[in-house]
Subunit: 124 residues, 2 copies
DNA sequence: GTAAAAAGTAGTAATGATTACTACTTTCGA
DNA sequence: TCGAAAGTAGTAATCATTACTACTTTTTAC
């Protein structure tokens, strides 16, 4: 396997075992439980290369951090303006087809973020 | 009008007169032609408050910059991995309805980014 | 109209997420 | 088994963005 290292494997495992959308720093905290002296730079480098190779997705919601998602299936990210939560929302992929005009553009992956208020924050 | 200043107006004008998705620094360059001694901090502050008030949209594609969009109508952003271009793609809004499960979440705006290769870059 | 309060600005300094760098270690094909 | 290639830890540097301060403009109340 190319690009193998136990650090890279631990990073991918940590990300896949989560159901949230952690930042690099949060992955770092998680992986430290397995590899205590792992370097933050190693986490950043591996996350970037995992995004590059298409094994994980990068999600930016405009909160100043890059978030990562081990779930590559098509779904929306609901971002609560109030509490900052990022919630997954299933999408009917069949309905999605033919939705947009691509005109020569070759789509590979997509990340959609819907901004609003989550159930808790909107009930105030 | 609340929050009025000629700087804020010039920033909004600059953004609305563009058909691209500029960063704060690019808006700053544009507005300097009208107000030469405007401060970059002023541009950042006004862009943030225009996003906050819903007059413009913030688009993050993961290139390390925050981009701004004066067009609030629903559309996708096609982000070319190769040249970094951000291309608008019209969406059939009727088809979009009923696409996703929101479960109590109150959507306000949404920003969708599709990653891939633009026409020029995929023809290589 | 005018004066004080409120809000905004220019310019600069500070912040902090991310990236770059270097000496060292691990991986892997021959 | 060995050496090149690739990866890592730890630290320093980068740079988009934010915070701060003294000053200016806008707004409000009379």
């Amino acid at each position: 396997m190319a690009n193998y290292s136990k650090q890279r494997e631990a990073i991918l495992n940590d990300l896949r075992s989560r159901c949230d959308h952690p930042t690099a720093a949060q992955v770092y905290e998680g992986v430290k439980k397995v590899i205590p002296n792992i370097s933050l730079g190693t986490v950043y480098r591996n996350l970037a290369s995992l995004v590059e190779s298409g094994e994980i997705l990068s999600v930016t919601v405009g909160d100043g951090y890059e978030h990562f998602d081990g779930d590559k299936s098509f779904h929306l990210h609901l971002h609560c303006k109030e509490c900052g939560a990022i919630i997954d929302s299933r999408v009917n992929e069949e309905k999605l087809k033919g939705l947009a005009e691509f005109d020569g553009f070759k789509p590979e992956t997509s990340v959609c973020v819907v901004y609003g208020l989550c159930k808790n924050c909107s009930k105030q």
